[in-house]
Amino acid sequence: MSLYQGKLLHLILLERFGPIVADVGKALFEFPRSLFHVRKTTGFPLLKVKESLSILIKFNLASFKLNHDGTTATYRLIIDNILLMLRYPKFINLIKMKMEDEAETLVEELLYKGCSTASELIIKTATRLKENKDIGTLLKQLKDKFASLVTAKYFIRLKNANTQEQELFAVPTIDLKQLSSIMNGSDETPADESIYWTLNPDRFHQDLRDQLVVNAVTNKFDENTGELMRIFLQQMYIRTSPWVPVSNLIPVLEVKDIVKKQKTHPQLLAFFDQYVNILEQDGNNIIQKAGEASGGSFQIEMKKIFTQLTWEIMEQLVNEKFDTKASRIFRLVKCRRYIEPEEIQHLVMMPSKEVKRITYQLFEENFVLLNELKRSITNSGPNKSFTLFYIQLTQLVRTTLELSYKTLFNIMTRRHHEKFLNKRIIDKKQRVDTISMGMRVQGASVDQLTDIEEMITPPEAEALAKIGKMMKKLNVAELEIDDTIFLLQMYLAYE
């Protein structure tokens, strides 16, 4: 638990649920507490606290446990799930790329509600999409999409004490007729009442991880090698559970068959063996040959891939924070594992003064560590001890994660602040928009509409455009920092 994680959680909850829930969350972040305690720390009325806790629980952002006395409970924050909210846009985007729009809206709605029964969710989504559509077909489509999302494990059933393991991804009964009559105003109870569903982040992470690996391979080699990697990953799931560090064997012929069938990459097919060779022979151990039978089999070295990617992040960080000279030294220490200062100077080809300055900087910010070895024998010769530089990657990842949280917090704080500074003009724009929308509905003339819109003066419009650009930049930055966080979390997960 870190300082900035806590601050960040507060901001996220504030944005999504308002100040009261945010403060309740903050109180729980400090310690798991009982209802009474939360009320005492926050000073809110009991009702408000109860409301906040139930929101947190509904969105799976907090859990509770009955105390020994059997009447009170202790509430605990689920930190990871709160941080996950920053990743929601990516989840939605992912489904959008993989499935059709209906699925995207289903995911959106579920994220919006936290958890829901299938029927409720489908009705909600149908209400949103029903314009220009036949309700019957729409409901059928949504039902199918819901089923595929469950089968593909993007949705997971919320557990209670009696839920069986195999029920977690079993599609519930959804009665289409019933749904359409409910949509027409009847108050029947749907057949799947009390079976609640929520998002399964693990499954989304799996996709994000694979996407990351494929992109990385494409970047380093080329499109064809990237595609090869993608198919290897796809075939990995047949025999391997998703999160093991090294996959089970994948027969290369199987991969080749797929390339042959999909006919999208003729170059990859024509030089299939060569591409496999290139991937295998790369010094980073992405895949490894592990069996000779039937044309050879390969293992995917997930852990090694992520270690490599993490090194690259660190190198970039050193590069940007200091300069290319510093990252050269950093990489040399990495390659040698342990290295004496004198040796560094010789190999990196820099003046000794500069090498000293840079290694000191790196040391000061903990990018490299120092190990002093004492010669045990008492001789009073000149070389009584010598120093070695080395790097502790895992420790570095932890500090970088904290730095990422801080960065995220800073950027979000700035975004709030800019909004606050420009509140007057943003509010005005909103008012004008509401008015003009209302008038449009009432069938106002074009002239009338322009009159209203001209209430925003040109300088104001310019300022608004500037603010919009700024907000967008901040938003994009937030998503990108989360990319870094995701990668570092992956590294730690495999550690």
Partner: protein, 304 residues
């Protein structure tokens, strides 16, 4: 008449002497009897052997034997003349410095070997220096340390640091330029090998280059004012490897092969914002003087 004859004999002897000395000067590795005979074919043997003997005696030539052949080497008269006009201490010190050769010798070591005290030694060194018999050269291995060597010797690369040093200063910019050019060469090679088509393996193998290939390219570019060796280029290429812009592998004959590569990740989130790479991040906090609401770095970044 007899007088003129004697004169002309003398003058021809001195011109032969000049020819031989000139010849020896041109060939520092030494001249053989055959070389001399070829240079002055119509001078009788006994005449020029007499001259050689005279030159050897006066120390202008030195006699060597290399693989059974007698060689005469020109010896710089300045080295021998120093003995004249110098006292014993100077001769001792001169000898010690001469022995140190192109690597030079530190003053402390001279003192130990010569048994002179510091004041004496300083005086001697000063005098030898003003007479241009010796010189002091700064060593790159430790700043402020000087080594002494004979005046007309070219210092060893371990003293000067080789091609990368200019008067003891490391030539960073020169190294940087070479680093960029080496990378450029490898990158162009990579690109052409992809353009040439064929399978990916072939493209990869074609994109490898040895240090000699790169050396040739750099020499032809003519950007270096000093002569660079293949080893020098090898050192530069290793910096390109350390910059993660190239990889190197050993081929079957134990030679390094270099190849331009790309990285896995494009610019990452944490480095694309200001805070991830902020130099004063440690002093920045929500309610501190330096804070994200008013931070100038973010302001600049936003208006980029």
């Amino acid at each position: 008449m007899s007088k003129t004859k004697a004169e002309s004999g003398e003058s021809s002897a001195s011109s032969i002497e000049n020819v031989i000395v000139q010849l020896a000067k041109e060939k520092p590795s030494g001249i053989s009897n055959d070389d001399i005979r070829n240079a002055i074919p119509d001078t009788p043997l006994e005449i020029w052997t007499k001259i050689i003997n005279k030159l050897l005696k006066s120390g202008i030539l030195e006699l060597f034997k290399d693989q059974g052949v007698l060689l005469y080497k020109y010896k710089d008269p300045s080295k021998k003349t120093e003995i004249k006009g110098s006292d014993n201490e100077e001769k001792v010190v001169y000898k010690i410095i001469e022995e140190a050769g192109t690597k030079g010798i530190w003053i402390r070591d001279i003192r130990v070997k010569s048994n002179l005290n510091m004041t004496q030694l300083n005086k001697v060194l000063k005098s030898l220096e003003t007479k241009k018999y010796i010189k002091a050269v700064k060593s790159v291995s430790a700043s402020k340390k000087k080594v002494y060597m004979l005046y007309d010797l070219e210092p060893d690369s371990s003293v000067t640091g080789g091609a990368w040093y200019q008067d003891q200063d490391f030539e960073s910019e020169f190294v940087d330029v070479l680093n960029q050019q080496c990378h450029r060469f490898l990158e162009e090679k990579r690109e052409t090998s992809i353009k040439m088509g064929g399978g990916p393996l072939m493209a990869r193998n074609r994109s490898y280059a040895t240090a000699s290939d790169v050396h040739k390219f750099i020499s032809e570019l003519g950007i270096s004012k000093v002569q660079l060796s293949v080893n020098d280029i090898e050192s530069i290429l290793y910096t390109v490897v350390l910059d993660n812009k190239a990889e190197r592998i050993l081929n079957s004959s134990g030679e390094y092969l270099y190849r331009a590569i790309k990285t896995f990740l494009p610019t990452n989130g944490i480095v694309s914002t200001t805070c991830g790479i902020c130099p004063i991040e440690g002093r920045c906090a929500e309610n501190a003087l330096i804070n994200p609401k008013t931070c100038k770095y973010i302001t600049d970044w936003l208006s980029d």
